[in-house]
């Protein structure tokens, strides 16, 4: 129906378009697209932020089952801990001090400190395995892990989520600090399946040794940095 009107436009196009017309068209299209993007960003902002908060809470609650509420902290390289504002994610981006480690303090129903949750990452079989682990100040041990993201082989590497024997490693994994509180007393390490003899060792899954090792290394690397800063300040986390 618009065939007649299109004809002249097509002819004009074959003779070349003036630069001004091109700039006008591009400007118009960019303006329309910009408006659409801003509209979409504004209308989804709250839902996305809420989703992210829920996802973090769920991950923390999974590794510290007694937890009912969480607060976000950073452990600074100077050896102090600081609470992040209620603004959460936006705030932590501004406070990005180099070397600061983010962690979550989890509180139980009575508002008492139930544990600490922090993230760790190490190279697995396919890609980086990112985990969250729960640390209990009472027993100075890791009391639970959850996977934040990984791309390990389905059915093999992803057993670290489901394998009960493997998860039993993380009911009381010893992460005590040494005498001068500078590092872990014993390095957390994954050992071959069936070779675990010490409470700081992780019994690897047979067939998924590389992924199991990544979990052990992720906990070790993160705990080695975080715990020496955290343990002297554990009272500052206080109540919720």
């Amino acid at each position: 129906m618009s065939g007649e009107t299109r004809q002249p436009a097509a002819m004009a196009a074959t003779q070349g378009t003036p630069t001004a017309a091109m700039i006008k068209a591009l400007g118009l299209v960019s303006a329309i697209c910009g408006l659409i993007i801003v509209g979409a960003y504004q209308s989804t902002f709250d839902a996305v932020a809420a989703n992210k908060r829920i996802a973090t809470e769920r991950a923390v609650f999974k590794v510290i089952p007694a937890a009912r509420s969480i607060a976000e902290f950073v452990a600074l390289p100077t050896g102090t801990v600081e609470k992040l504002g209620a603004g959460g994610t936006a705030n932590s981006a501004n406070n990005a001090v180099p070397g600061a480690i983010r962690f979550f303090a989890a509180y139980d129903e009575g508002g008492q400190l139930a544990g600490i949750a922090a993230e760790g990452a190490a190279k697995g079989y396919a890609d980086t395995v990112r985990i969250m682990f729960g640390y209990s100040p009472a027993c100075q041990c890791v009391v639970g892990i959850g996977v934040v993201s990984m791309r390990e082989t389905p059915g093999i590497g992803d057993k670290i989520i489901t394998d009960k024997a493997f998860l039993a490693n993380f009911t009381a994994l010893d992460t005590r600090l040494n005498a001068d509180l500078g590092a872990l007393a014993h390095e957390v390490k994954a050992v071959k399946h069936g070779a675990k003899t010490q409470p700081w060792q992780v019994d690897a899954i047979a067939g998924a040794t590389i992924t199991s090792r990544a979990v052990g290394k992720a906990i070790n690397d993160s705990a080695q940095l975080l715990l020496p800063r955290l343990v002297p300040n554990i009272d500052k986390l206080g109540k919720s």
Partner: protein
């Protein structure tokens, strides 16, 4: 004119679903087709995201078709497509972070999905909004169906479930390779085989013609 519109629209729609199915006949958009179809939910979500981007881009391209100088048309199409991809990206984050993680970079990569640029260039830029949208919806439906065909088979064989519901009980030993990249090629190959077998048997005559044309 009005009496002709309904069947013609339907033909236009089915063109994308069947005769020129983007996945199984034109064999376009292989990147998401192989990468995200590890489960039926992922496949459907990817299909719906692509549907949204394809339909909205084609509508906007069609509305602006007389304003877009041909020298810069590709740049304009890409900007328009990228806009709707961004919108879909935010929308999926707002709906479910788990789904967002599962689809990963492939949402952003819808920008370079050649089905969309192809439709914008070959159809939407030459047609009024209504036919452009119908054509885009048909192509999207064909693409979504194709992804679902891949995703459901891979999920059933690779995990023994469909939409997360266990089909075979606890004694089923999942065929894990189907969830891995090679499984994607196996299942895609099987579907392509099935489609061309249909075509050769004469059951799907239109497909055969389309195959020969492409």
């Amino acid at each position: 004119m009005t009496t002709l519109t309904a069947p013609r629209s339907w033909d236009e729609f089915m063109e994308g679903v069947w005769r020129q199915n983007p996945l199984f006949v034109m064999v376009l958009g292989m990147c998401p087709a192989l990468a995200v179809t590890v489960s039926a939910v992922n496949a459907l979500s990817m299909g719906l995201a692509t549907t949204f981007v394809l339909t909205c881009s084609c509508l906007l391209v069609s509305l602006l078709r007389k304003l877009i100088p041909k020298e810069v048309r590709i740049a304009v199409y890409i900007v328009i497509i990228a806009t709707f991809v961004t919108v879909v990206d935010y929308a999926i984050q707002a709906i479910s972070l788990a789904l967002y993680d599962a689809l990963g970079a492939f949402i952003q990569l819808i920008v370079v999905n050649c089905i969309i640029l192809g439709r914008a260039e070959a159809h939407a830029s030459k047609n009024p909004p209504l036919p452009a949208v119908i054509n885009a919806l048909g192509m999207s439906a064909g693409f979504t169906l194709g992804l679902f065909a891949l995703g459901s088979v891979r999920e059933i064989l690779g995990a023994g479930t469909l939409f997360g519901v266990s089909l075979f009980g606890p004694n089923f030993q999942p065929w894990v390779v189907m969830l891995l990249p090679p499984g994607g090629f196996f299942v895609l190959g099987a579907w392509l085989l099935l489609f061309s077998w249909w075509a050769r048997r004469g059951l799907g005559k239109p497909v055969k013609e389309a195959v020969e044309h492409v």
